[in-house]
């Protein structure tokens, strides 16, 4: 019975089905906010779903020159990694449906897989645009991944645990008791958001699929169902990233007011993060790959190190 219950949780709520629906909603919200900030109308609510259905019903074309096996397998691989990582993130209550000490590291690595898949997809597509996009995706990975990890590990270091659910449960109370730590956590949160923007390949870091330069980058040769799966996995990655940041820095399902259900609190926090992501997307242009690397190593990485060092120094110095 317990096994069946766990199975249902993983498949329906808060697992796969919930994630799919929320991902489509997040895509809509992102596009709608983007449009609203540009004074446009934007898509209707069911647009992302309609797009997905349309892509699923279309013919999938596999070019002759590609390595068909790898080419077909890659989208599913990315999809699976993202769905798996979501099981470790608390949604309606702590702990999450699957939780063990050290799951933060697993999630961080699982969330790297879509980018690696992207660069592999670029290589296997055998098209100039795809290959360039693949190289760019991989190059960019080195710029944002380290700051992203450092930012994620700051709260873990602070609380001395590597379990996402435990961090989500304990962080708000800990911060209220020790307000000094607001500063490093805030710094890490900001770095996390900017690095997440790079991870999701959104402006100003949408360099791998910059449409005016290299068409659709690694996705250029993809079509039909495979493209739908890729798109869905990127939407899900956005939800996963937002949920992860919400759990690590904002307390995840921990309510602001005691009577509030955990799921509402979670939704509010993730939607706020998606709003920030959409705002950044609307406010800036795309930078170049060399500028991206410089930005990643000269600004993001030192900032995240500062956050981490502050935590270490505060703890050693007994400032608590």
């Amino acid at each position: 019975m317990i096994i069946l219950w766990g199975f249902l949780q993983a498949l329906i709520f808060p697992g796969f089905l919930f994630l799919s629906v929320y991902a489509l909603f997040a895509e809509w919200l992102d596009r709608k906010l983007f449009a609203q900030m540009q004074n446009r109308i934007g898509p209707p609510l069911i647009q992302p779903l309609a797009d997905t259905i349309k892509l699923f019903s279309k013919e999938t074309i596999i070019p002759k020159a590609v390595q068909a096996g790898l080419f077909t397998l890659l989208p599913y691989f990315s999809f699976a990694a993202v769905v798996t990582s979501f099981l470790f993130v608390p949604v309606y209550a702590t702990p999450a449906i699957s939780s063990f000490p050290g799951d933060l590291v697993i999630v961080a690595y699982l969330l790297t897989i879509p980018t690696l898949v992207l660069s592999l997809a670029g290589w296997s597509s055998d098209s100039t645009y795809s290959i360039l996009g693949g190289i760019r995706a991989l190059t960019q990975l080195f710029a944002y991944e380290v700051p992203f990890f450092l930012a994620l590990f700051t709260p873990a270091l602070l609380l001395g645990t590597w379990n996402i659910s435990e961090i989500a449960a304990r962080l708000p109370g800990y911060l209220l008791a020790n307000p000094f730590y607001f500063i490093p956590v805030l710094i890490s949160f900001l770095v996390g958001i900017v690095a997440l923007q790079g991870k999701l390949e959104r402006k100003p870091f949408d360099i791998p699929d910059a449409e005016t330069e290299i068409v659709a980058g690694p996705f250029t040769e993809y079509s039909g169902r495979l493209l739908a799966i890729f798109r869905l996995s990127i939407d899900m990655e956005m939800v996963c990233g937002a949920s992860l940041l919400a759990a690590l820095f904002l307390g995840g399902p921990q309510p602001f007011i005691s009577w509030m259900p955990g799921i509402i609190s979670y939704l509010l926090k993730t939607l706020a993060i998606i709003f920030i992501l959409a705002y950044i997307k609307a406010a800036v242009g795309r930078i170049r790959i060399d500028q991206m690397i410089r930005f990643g190593w000269q600004i993001l990485a030192p900032l995240s190190l500062v956050g981490m060092l502050m935590v270490v120094l505060f703890q050693k110095g007994g400032l608590i």
């Binding site: 900030m37 013919e59 005016t212 242009g285």
Partner: protein
């Protein structure tokens, strides 16, 4: 990475809204060679102009370009009027300037949006195109159409301005001036935009000079040449305005020149509305044109546009030569592109504000062997699309 790749851009590519082909040889992200191939958009306009009367050619040349349609129509009208020895009434000259400068405003705002889009700054793209609608609405109010205004006729203009239209134009200009100032501010302060345009696609003054660059491309490199100032036409001789130049030579320089010109254009239109002379708006033009030839130059939003018209005494010209400004700027683009990054191709190409369908216009293309092109009906197309579906 020393392996060289060929990166084809165009004739169909999201970067270019018009068909032209570029072949880039790249090493990693660096461009080492660039080749241009044009001709995908030839409509045979120069040849067609020889078969039509001067009045019909006026509308034909207006359709060379969708954005600078007033440019080509005025240009052709000027050349023809010179051969005829016609002097257009002063009010017509002022009205030509008003429409021409409104067109410049909408063209430059369009460029600003395109430049934003090329560097992924889509918000700038959307909002500047939103405000470009103000200029387009004004043009529609004055001439009756958003593009291909049909404002010119041989010997003057076709539509007069009444008090209400002048009032609407002033209101629109007020808003345009505010928005332009705001965008100028945004463009020169936004880090991500500056990072993409400063010191990118540098065109030194000497290269701009020898490669025949014109318009904002040349003025962005510090070359002081503006037809409106140096070879004034219509009413420009009487209107005070500044020629905006920038010594930078990069894409940012060209952007700043265009923003400066937007503000100058607003000033010019205001001056025209304040000093609009009374009188007729057109004089009658003869149908037959005496033997002669004339060159007419016009400062289009993209640079100097030139028409050469040759008459053999009949009612049809014997040769019409059109040189759109993009053709003049294309020679400089190779220099701008070499040793730049692949990521900078879009913005460098966009920086000359290319308009390839004006540039291509001379001959009709017939594939060898085919003597008759098929015109497919809707039904046939539909049937074909059904038949192509895999069963």
């Amino acid at each position: 990475m020393s392996e060289r790749m060929i990166l084809p851009i165009g004739p169909q590519h999201p970067l270019l809204k018009e068909p032209i082909h570029f072949k880039f040889t790249i090493e990693g992200e660096l461009i080492v060679e660039a080749e241009i191939r044009m001709g995908y958009n030839h409509r045979g306009i120069e040849k067609a102009a020889e078969e039509r009367t001067y009045l019909q050619d006026l509308y034909l040349t207006e359709r060379i370009c969708g954005i600078c349609s007033h440019v080509h129509a005025t240009n052709f009208a000027q050349a023809t009027e010179e051969i005829m020895g016609l002097q257009i009434p002063p009010r017509a000259a002022y009205l030509r300037v008003v429409v021409g400068e409104l067109e410049r405003i909408h063209s430059h705002l369009l460029w600003l949006g395109v430049a934003g889009h090329e560097v992924g700054y889509d918000t700038l793209f959307m909002v500047s195109w939103r405000d470009r609608e103000i200029a387009q609405d004004l043009l529609e109010i004055i001439t009756g159409n958003r593009v291909n205004y049909g404002m010119n006729t041989l010997g003057g203009v076709r539509k007069d301005l009444d008090a209400e239209q002048i009032d609407q134009t002033r209101k629109g200009l007020q808003e345009l001036a505010e928005r332009t100032l705001y965008y100028g501010n945004v463009v020169s302060n936004e880090t991500t935009f500056i990072a993409r345009v400063a010191n990118v696609g540098v065109l030194p003054k000497e290269v701009a000079y020898s490669s025949g660059a014109v318009g904002p491309t040349a003025r962005g490199s510090g070359l002081d040449y503006d037809v409106r100032k140096h070879l004034p036409y219509a009413a420009y001789g009487e209107i005070p305005f500044e020629v905006v130049t920038s010594p930078r030579g990069d894409v940012l320089g060209r952007a700043l020149v265009r923003v400066g010109e937007l503000l100058e254009s607003v000033k010019i239109i205001r001056y025209c509305l304040d000093h609009l002379p009374d009188g007729p708006i057109a004089v009658k033009a003869p149908r037959k044109v005496p033997v002669g030839e004339a060159v007419s130059r016009y400062e289009a939003p993209r640079g100097e546009c030139i028409h050469y018209v040759r008459s053999n005494g009949s009612d049809k010209p014997s040769r019409v030569k059109v040189r759109a400004p993009t053709m003049g700027n294309l020679a400089s683009i190779r220099h701008c592109l070499l040793n730049q990054q692949v990521a900078d191709i879009p913005i460098i190409l966009a920086a000359i504000d290319p308009c390839f369908s004006c540039t291509d216009r001379t001959v009709m293309l017939v594939k060898e062997g085919t003597r008759e092109a098929e015109v497919m009906g809707w039904e046939e197309l539909r049937l074909r699309s059904i038949a192509r579906r895999p069963i």
